[in-house]
Symmetry: C2
Subunit: 192 residues, 2 copies
């Protein structure tokens, strides 16, 4: 089971948010916030799915969850709307510098991305190779093409370099991935 | 703070899922599952947002959340894709039989629905009057028109009867709300 990034389960029993480098998740949160503030796109990270088993209820206004478990996500982490399009993607980082292990993406997340693609949504992966400090957007089409034509358990770094769209690191927005999405939707496309 | 339905905080400290009538949430979950199985639409309820403060980590494969709190949702509960459209809605039930109290919808959820609407998404409310056992879909437009032209703190039941689309209760799918969405998107509309 992969724990959601941002939650470092530790033996000290307390979640520690300090002393971490900026994660891909944080970069995307800041970027999505910028896109919302600029009225460009409304894309959110979904909350981590949790199975709650015990709740303490000391007062009418307050509830404390006392026991809960992480559940496997049935969909991807990010979705929303941009230029009338349904946007759906998964974002992962790897320290592996030669390939992206497919074990990072659950099989039902792949199924979900394929469903979205078939129904006209814009779907992709955002993968950061943290050793190289490079972030790529890989379109759903290129992702499906790879996994449907190989039995490899990882996608080579070179595949991202060749097929992916490299997302630069900028001041604002931090990770301008919608520029790559603009290329996917052809820019001039208007819904009406 | 409104607790998510499905989680009945109780002084007995244990979440009790038994002996409840079928809630609107359950009906929608079953309906969305049917729509997915039939490859009609991919619409999911978002997980309840939780702030995790303590995690116990007894083994490599297991994590137990020992302390967490409910957070206010920043978006609506349901979103997904249908016929290439971004779909976004909030679902609530009320026992009040004359009106739907607007306190059921957070101000930032209203803002979110307006943002989605402005960007070309399909948004609406699904409201169940449990006393009458009637469920209505109210389009974003009709919802915004009401709240922008009144200072009332609730939407009268009659407004739903006049402007809303009544969703029948059926065998499969349980709550065929996409029929009402078909009317919103004009049925014959094709994206390509």
């Amino acid at each position: 089971m992969n724990y959601p990034s941002g939650i470092k389960a530790s033996k000290t029993h307390t979640v520690n948010y300090k002393n971490r480098g900026m994660s891909l998740e944080e970069d995307l949160n800041i970027t999505n916030q910028y896109y919302r503030e600029q009225d460009i796109a409304y894309i959110y990270k979904k909350p981590t799915p949790i199975q709650i088993t015990k709740v303490d209820y000391p007062s009418r206004k307050e509830a404390i969850i006392k026991e809960a478990y992480f559940k496997e996500p049935s969909t991807t982490d990010y979705n929303g709307i941009y230029q009338g399009y349904y946007i759906d993607f998964e974002a992962k980082e790897t320290r592996n510098h030669t390939s992206f292990p497919l074990s990072n993406i659950h099989p039902h997340q792949i199924t979900h991305l394929k469903n979205v693609f078939r129904h006209g949504g814009i779907c992709f992966l955002i993968v950061r190779f943290s050793t190289q400090n490079e972030t790529y957007l890989l379109t759903g089409e290129d992702f499906f093409h790879f996994i449907d034509h190989t039995t490899r358990k990882s996608i080579p770094y070179m595949y991202f370099k060749e097929k992916g769209k490299k997302i630069p690191f900028e001041y604002q927005p931090r990770l301008p991935y919608l520029k790559a999405v603009d290329e996917m939707i052809g820019g001039s496309y208007e819904k009406e």
